[in-house]
């Protein structure tokens, strides 16, 4: 279990980015549920924790792909691959995540190491 933050520091409607490799986003929804998914959109390198949560969905801030926070499934493209989900544990006032063993679905640009002079 990896400690994330105090529950009091993660109000409803907010997200916490955990600087793991790859980074993980923990969301506290308006309805009071907690979910953890990989923070990186599977379509292009963008932080889902900078996106917007509505109900149990997160919308990527870049191209408006939407992911189901429960299952990680894509509900709105352009993303095609699901985002990996993690297990959230709450003990007292502390929030923890248990990282998934499954391989992540990271976008190509987040996997590649930068090369000087690289062009699109």
């Amino acid at each position: 279990m990896i400690p994330v933050c105090r529950l009091a520091d993660l109000p409803r409607g907010e997200a916490f980015r955990l600087e793991t490799d790859p980074p993980v986003a923990v969301f506290h929804t308006e309805d009071g549920e907690l979910f953890a998914v990989d923070d990186t959109c599977t379509h292009q390198d963008a932080a889902l924790s900078d996106g917007w949560v509505e109900g149990r969905e997160v919308e990527c801030p870049l191209h408006a792909s939407k992911f189901d926070l429960c299952t990680g499934a894509v509900s709105t493209p352009p993303a095609r691959l699901p985002v990996r989900t993690h297990h959230v544990v709450i003990e007292g006032d502390a929030v923890y995540v248990v990282l998934s063993d499954a391989p992540p679905n990271l976008p190509p640009c987040a996997l590649r190491r930068p090369v000087l002079g690289e062009a699109t």
Partner: protein, 375 residues
Amino acid sequence: MTRSALPGSLIATLPGGHYTSAEVFAAEQRGIFEAMWFCAVRAADLATPGAYRTVTVGRESVLLARGRDGRVRAFLNVCRHRGARLCTEESGEVRRAFQCPYHAWTYDLTGRLTAAPNLTRMPDVDRTTFGLAAVAVREWLGYVWVCLADEPPSFEEQVVGEVVARLGDTESIERYAVEGLAVGRRITYDVRANWKLVVENFMECYHCATIHPELTDVLPEFADGYAAQYYVGHGAEFGAAVEGFTVDGSEGLERIPTVAPHQDRRYYAITIKPQVFVNLVPDHVIVHRMFPLAPDRTVIECDWLYLPEVVAAGRDLSRSVELFDRVNRQDFAACERCQPGMSSRLYAAGGVLVPSEHHIGAFHTWVRGRLGGGE
């Protein structure tokens, strides 16, 4: 005829080139429109969070948007990344953020950079520093005013001061409760004339009896050629048989209840330099915002503002609106008639102003004074 050779009754206008030259216009953009407070949009047009408008101020496109906190903010409409125009529409609504269509740099309604491809791998990129460039904002009379200057001049001196100079105090305009009125009608005029011709036209009434028959019927004293703006605190009185400020002198709409008895049945006109004209009558207020786009092109948005209940009830505003719509069309046709003459050899040294127009000379002195400044 040289300036010094003019008879005492006449003073010179600006030379014709001031109305046609790209260089003069660029100097005016820098020294006037980008340096002063500029009336941009009606605040109520940005009704809900995410509602936005873009306007041209000097050489810049400015984006105005209402935030989730209810505040209106203004930004340069330019992506901080590679300079793409962020919003190309004149108005619209975004859900949460402005996104550049080029590389998807994404800014929230406060202008902060919230997302960009690979942004989390550039932790040294500060999201405020590389957010949208903010422009100074003030709200007054229900309008959002912006100022592109690094150090904006005093709003009270530049804007409120003009109203006080004309009406004698601020209470006189506050009684019209302009910020609480609703837009009953808006008409946009695309005028093929230099902005100064439009200002000069609005400042004098020497032309009124010739081109404004309806207005002169409602305000008979306009036939003497002296503008309502000639005397401090003076409002032109409605003709004895006139019931309201309408195209045929018929009854107007419900009077704004806070208008003072001495303001009733009178018309007040104010020029707020450089680009706003305000007309006050007992039942409505007319606000013109000018957007100078080129030496020979000025777009004017004109709002007719009434009590909110008058607008909500769907009352017939047509005779009320038609009076000043006709005046506007008559005026702008006159301005467009002058524009080609500005490049005539006859007008190289300018034209002349008669005594009832001599106060326009002060406007010309003011314009010349501002052109020396700028960057």
